[in-house]
Subunit: 214 residues, 2 copies
Amino acid sequence: MGVKSYGQFCSVAKALDIVGDRWTLLVLRELLVQGPCRYTDLAHGLPGIASNLLSDRLRMLEDAGLVRREAAPPPVATTLFHLTERGRATEPVIAALARWGISYVDSVPGVEDEFRPYWFPHSVSAFLHDRPPGTDPATVQLITPIGSWAIEVVGPTPEVREGVADAPDLVLEGHPRLIIGLLSGSSTLEESVDGGLSVRGDAAVLGSFPLIPT
Amino acid sequence: MGVKSYGQFCSVAKALDIVGDRWTLLVLRELLVQGPCRYTDLAHGLPGIASNLLSDRLRMLEDAGLVRREAAPPPVATTLFHLTERGRATEPVIAALARWGISYVDSVPGVEDEFRPYWFPHSVSAFLHDRPPGTDPATVQLITPIGSWAIEVVGPTPEVREGVADAPDLVLEGHPRLIIGLLSGSSTLEESVDGGLSVRGDAAVLGSFPLIPT
DNA sequence: CGGCATCCTCTTTGATACTG
DNA sequence: CAGTATCAAAGAGGATGCCG
């Protein structure tokens, strides 16, 4: 099982020998954003995966030393899948993919994509970057049908946390799709409002907002 | 052609919808490290790829706007495959994979991997990082059967260039495998010397060398 | 229920051969 | 040089069954 090695003396090829199979990187994404998972948690976060494939992928990741299987104590009373240190080290790969892929999230409108609420803050933080020195602190509150999150730019690294901030400079309310579209730059503020996004507060904050430079 | 979409509202999944197919990221690697390529240059840099697959991948990358096909003027007189801006933007993904995969390059000793000399400096630079302020400048000369490169740490970002430096602090000579093993930390200096690496000069330079922290 | 294993069909791949 | 064409083998997807 697993796919044939590329057989190249190149670290990119070697990496893909291990995590390049279909679904593998998404299994790692789930473990990164959900933390330790039961088998069914993983299956739920990977809609469409065949059960035998999830099983195969977990075994391969275990063999490669990226995932560890642990029998959880009574309250859970089942096996949990954990990332090892080496598995957690794939985070920069996932993050790079998340940043590159953000412009495509909005761009397949006809298809009804699956969605899990806990993916959303991860998508948002993927295109925040360290603010340049001298930037004013700012808080942007996101309110969606599937949850609320606050982006807080206080220290050098912006943080996305679940919940509602005290005195946000800006409140964006609407479908996650609209918020992603606006923050990623694929829609203008005007287009987003036309599409149904509610914008309250100081929209100028967006201008100085620490997005990833496109 | 191409693999079925994951159908997830997640930027990682969207990215993998486009670059997640087998061979696709390696085609991008070739275009990144070789620059604009003819079809046969790509085929040569991707040993083992079937011609129809290379053809498919190039068409998919073109359709997705990552690659542009151009008729080159007379001296070349054939079509060249270029990366677009969007294609070049995958570089952080490739780099993250290269860094993560570096520890596996050395670890499949039995297999005879394919090798292309121009991959080597790219592998080396993948695990160099910006030096901390106050680090002394240093030059390390690499000499291998397939070429020589100099790592120069002068400005904040180390540079790998082809050729021979004037007065290197350290010279490492041997098979690329040995050098990668040493620089990536998977072999000690002693093991590398035992394995046939020749080390001349100030080996202490390695200690202060700006490697990616493991 | 959680964690698979099996069986079956369909798509993608790999290898080789051939062409404008 | 830059692909197509063909075909066998492998992997993916889907359904269902099993076992603690």
